[in-house]
Chain length 659, copies 2
């Protein structure tokens, strides 16, 4: 009655090829090649319960080679996740289906992260494995003790981000991270030897990984390798020699199986060759039963874990539950408001990166889930606080990650920390290096994860480092991204408000765009209200019937205030609007927007030390802009502001020209 390994693996193969064939689109070769490895992993090792997909102590499985999504969906169906039915398999890649072209987090239970952009999965898995180490260090083996498994292809390993992942995982000795490399020697253009000569095992070993090589179609060898890898004190690579499109009579081992349906004739031959008698989308009862019973084994583990949790120290349990709660701990907002009040009164001159550092002192003290870090710019981005000790590979109780000069990995590792659960990751680098992390930032937004990017040195205001380091296009790049809040506060009070919004927003990642240079405190009248919550607001109303509205963000708001003083002095009633977050402002109703921007046809001047791109949405029919229209230059910041004409005088002149 019990099916053989081959029958069980072939169930994956036929679900995959039949679904791709029906969709007329997809990648069958990879699921066919890795079916044996996946079968061994899911039926014998992976600690999970398909009936409780959110069990905190489950092993995580990440399909980094996300184009092989039918491997994922086949596994979910065969393992018995209620969320994936045979109809879902039949609807592969159709509108509204759970079985999207690439595995998408949030669309279907059991998919731990969105993959497809290569290299993201293996790096996100580093974040998950790190989260496990950190929680294990706090709560012990009874509460937290799980592995993170990843399947990566040649494409993942060619992407630079994978090196950052390998390097940091090796440094941190993430021993519960196990990567299967689908070593099939085929990429889309043909044989990998067209472009690749790396000795991958040697490469991983150079970063301190344990490595093994197995025949990826030999279940006993795969099993032995996993047993060994689990015992390792380092992260493990298992290089699996496989045949892409395994089982296809004429196309196996070729790139023809990579990204296109096999065709009816080839599938027919495959049925014959592998002795598979079932019709498309039918899995013989004994094979399905074998899958389901094998994958039900985790249920008892899960129940034991739940019992152990009940019997655990109540304080530890409370802490553990608090980490996983969407509710932030009581008192955080009060503490932050007290800080805001103090700053309003003291009105210091502070760079917003420093203001952010002070805000983080308050937040990290009150919110244990916050995990900080930086890409080797800790002193510059002000992300480390007294509450966040550094994590090392011998002590994971800290809350600060030295990501190294690995911005792209930093973004994906933060995604992994958030996806694992229990953490609100934030980390910093210079704003211009958002360029290096856009792959990860985009997935934070797409997956709706609370990941916070601290992006300092946000304009020509950084001065001497020059145009390579001066972001002029970065604000537009981030603002154009759906489901991402780009915050650019003008002083310490707004900085605190923006942080409050960022940590409370569970479904939208945030970019905190901050200055290097000092800024005056403009919000000197304290209010409990978070004025930044509506994205833009009137910071200083016109004295008299408003004729001019100056809109600005961040460091340019104080320039706007100076311009307002001059215009008022000349009898021109002028309001200043601070716009720390366009995205939140865009969500307000028309009446509020009109009250902020002033009447249509009124003079509106936008001021921002960045490209105009995007600003026209607010300038109306009688507007102008003061900002950048080229890359920056290397010089002290005050000279650059003059050189590029971002001055109160220039704002005044442009306003007067239109009044």
């Amino acid at each position: 009655m019990t099916a053989t390994h081959n029958e069980m693996a072939n169930a994956i193969r036929f679900l995959s090829v039949d679904a791709v064939q029906k969709a007329k689109s997809g990648h069958p070769g990879m699921p066919m090649g890795m079916a044996d490895v996946a079968t061994v992993l899911f039926t014998k090792f992976l600690k999970f319960d398909p009936k409780a997909p959110h069990w905190r102590d489950r092993d995580r499985f990440v399909l980094s080679a996300g184009h092989g999504s039918m491997l994922m969906y086949s596994l979910l169906y065969l393992a018995g996740y209620d969320d994936v039915t045979m109809d879902d398999i039949k609807n592969f890649r159709q509108l509204g289906a759970k079985t999207a072209g690439h595995p998408e987090y949030g669309h279907v239970e059991g998919v731990e992260t969105t993959t497809g952009p290569l290299g993201q999965g293996i790096t996100t898995a580093v974040g998950m494995a790190l989260a496990e180490k950190m929680q294990n260090a706090h709560f012990g083996d009874d509460m937290v003790d799980h592995y993170t498994y990843t399947i990566a292809g040649d494409g993942c390993l060619m992407e630079g981000i994978s090196q950052e992942a390998i390097s940091i995982a090796g440094h941190l000795k993430l021993s519960k991270m196990i990567v299967f490399w689908d070593d099939n020697s085929i990429c889309i253009d043909g044989n990998t030897n067209l472009t690749l000569s790396d000795n991958q095992r040697q490469r991983f070993e150079a970063s301190g990984w344990d490595t093994q090589q197995v025949d990826g179609h030999d279940p006993a060898a795969i099993e032995a390798a996993i047993v060994k890898a689990k015992k390792s004190g380092a992260p493990s690579l298992i290089a699996c020699k496989t045949t892409i499109g395994y089982g296809a009579p004429t196309k196996a081992g070729t790139h023809d199986t990579h990204g296109a349906p096999l065709g009816d004739e080839e599938i027919k031959g495959m049925r014959e060759g592998l002795g598979w008698r079932a019709e498309p989308f039918e899995i013989p009862d004994d094979i399905l039963e074998s899958w389901r019973s094998a994958c039900a084994r985790g249920s008892a583990d899960r129940q034991n874990w739940e019992s152990a949790l009940k019997n655990a120290d109540p304080k530890a349990r409370e802490k553990f539950d608090a980490l996983y709660s969407d509710q932030l701990p009581a008192g955080w907002m009060e503490a932050l408001n007290a800080f805001k009040k103090k700053m309003s009164a003291e009105a210091p001159k502070l760079a917003t990166r420093q203001a952010s550092g002070k805000t983080l002192e308050v937040l990290t003290k009150n919110i244990p889930a916050m995990i900080g870090g930086s890409a080797d710019l800790t002193g510059s981005v002000n992300t480390k606080t007294p509450s966040t000790a550094s994590i090392t590979n011998s002590d994971f109780t800290g809350r600060y990650i030295h990501y190294g000069v690995r911005e792209h990995a930093m973004s994906a590792v933060m995604n992994g920390l958030s996806l694992h659960g229990g953490y609100i990751p934030y980390s910093g680098t210079f704003a211009v290096f958002a360029n290096y992390m856009m792959g990860g930032i985009r997935l934070s937004a797409l997956m709706e994860k609370r990941v916070i990017y601290v992006l300092t040195h946000d304009s020509i205001g950084l001065g001497e480092d020059g145009p390579t380091h001066q972001p002029v296009e970065t604000l537009a790049m981030l603002r154009a991204l759906p489901n991402f809040n780009t915050m650019r506060p003008c002083d310490v009070v707004e900085t605190a408000e923006c942080w409050a919004l960022a940590v409370a927003n569970t479904k939208t990642p945030t970019g905190m765009v901050l200055t290097r240079q000092g800024l005056p405190t403009l919000r000197t009248t304290y209010t409990d209200d978070n004025l930044s919550a509506r994205g833009a607001y009137v910071l200083a109303e016109a004295d008299g019937a408003r004729k001019v509205t100056i809109m600005a963000t961040g460091s340019e708001v104080s320039i706007a205030m100076d311009a307002r003083a001059a215009l008022q002095g000349d009898g021109i009633p002028t309001a200043v609007v601070s716009m720390p977050c366009w995205e939140l402002f865009n969500d307000q109703d028309d009446a509020y927007k009109a009250s902020v921007l002033g009447a249509e046809g009124g003079v509106r001047i936008g001021v921002e030390a960045a490209m105009r791109f995007g600003w026209d949405a607010y300038l109306g029919s009688n507007g102008d802009f003061v900002g950048m229209n080229s890359f920056g230059a290397s010089a002290p910041a005050p000279e650059l502001y003059k050189h590029f004409g971002i001055t109160a005088e220039n704002v005044v002149a442009k306003a007067k020209a239109r009044v």
Copy 2:
């Protein structure tokens, strides 16, 4: 009379610390640590002539660790480049100075590429070394025979892009590429062991590099290592054990020397310790003389090379000169126009990626400088033509590079090919992966290099691959970048026109944003004029006094035409404007812009399967937009267009609501 090695190296050290001190800003530690290596390289090995910085057969030197820019400027001054005077050194990091905060290509002779964003330099150097191999294969040792040297720091080697560089350089066996790793164990946050445990030599060896380790303060050992590296059949890494801030009495070997001036006291102690008696910004005559005479040795080499070139086969010489000319070969435009004419007549239904492939067949046949490639998506991005055979590590005569799944390296390698001279690189991947290459794309724009990015699968029109692969924000991201032309042609004729602009524009890189799905030919009336050259133009004027203007790009132009037909049918005179390149349109005069966009206050509808961000600049006071306001989804393309409401019906409805 001849100065010692130590004196010559100390000249670099003191110029560096004094300039940083005067600027009150900069990174002294790295020039101090690598002064010995740089002195040996420049005075004994580097083939160059400071009096002829554009000599084609010079060795290339790339300071990948660009923050150590004072090393570069010190070398240029000491070697005798006329472009760098002592006043320039004194003006380090000041407005308008050649000696910018980071080395900037085009600002000063002798800087081969802009560096600062870590990892770019080493990867750009791969492009230069590859260019040498390719030209050497065509023209032989007498005309082309030079090395590419790079200094990289720990930061460069932590960036993922460096792995892509190492991997492809190893695969291609770029034996004339030599990298010095400044192995000083210090990063900005502190000791590199905070975050790094890699065995770098083993890592390079895994990609087929030769590696050596030397004491970076032992000139004899450095010399021996370079001699050996030059003989290698593989690219070479020389790991140089150095002390950051070498010579600083209390700060040497610490991260205090990394990114801040040393302070007067420390510099005073350094003068005493190293026995340096000259005042700041004074180099003793004998030391300067020794530098100048050592670096004059290349003059004879250069003259010999010029003589050899004169005596070379005239046909080869002509070909060689043609590569380096800013003028494209005669006849290319005529050939392209003939193609345009043929397409206008045949009016095929073609995806613009296929249209691009056909255009490239014409262009690559006529322009030998064009070097194609793809990041493992050759069949999808249509970049390979009959004229572009694949380059392999045993045959560099081809013109097509299989970059592998290494998008970021692809961008930087293309920068290197362009900077080396002789090439117009173009290469393709999916548009969404512009995210992975923004670091390199930004430098193409900043350096004003003719690098062409083929970016296909440019919207939800790619269908089933889903939101991970559907760029909705990418157009805005590229359009916000200064000095970058984002082209999104609507049919095969516009595609040919956009390519003509891209290859002829020597100072601005281009993104060719192209569809996966088939599009009708709309430009069926042939004209020699390149209508796309003005960025936007009236594709179909209104029949009657214009009431509505529909503006669209790429695949949405045909939707605009359908909407126009419906509106005209309902008696509403409607024009369609095709906007293949916003940047070029923005450069037109107001009269032309008005003639295209119609009168202010007229109904204008923008249509693009992307975010609205940026469109408001064209919509005027009575405009609306049909496009995306979220990420996409996985489904067949026609269903997605309906689902997201990007249809002629919707355009018509929005226009009517405003007429």
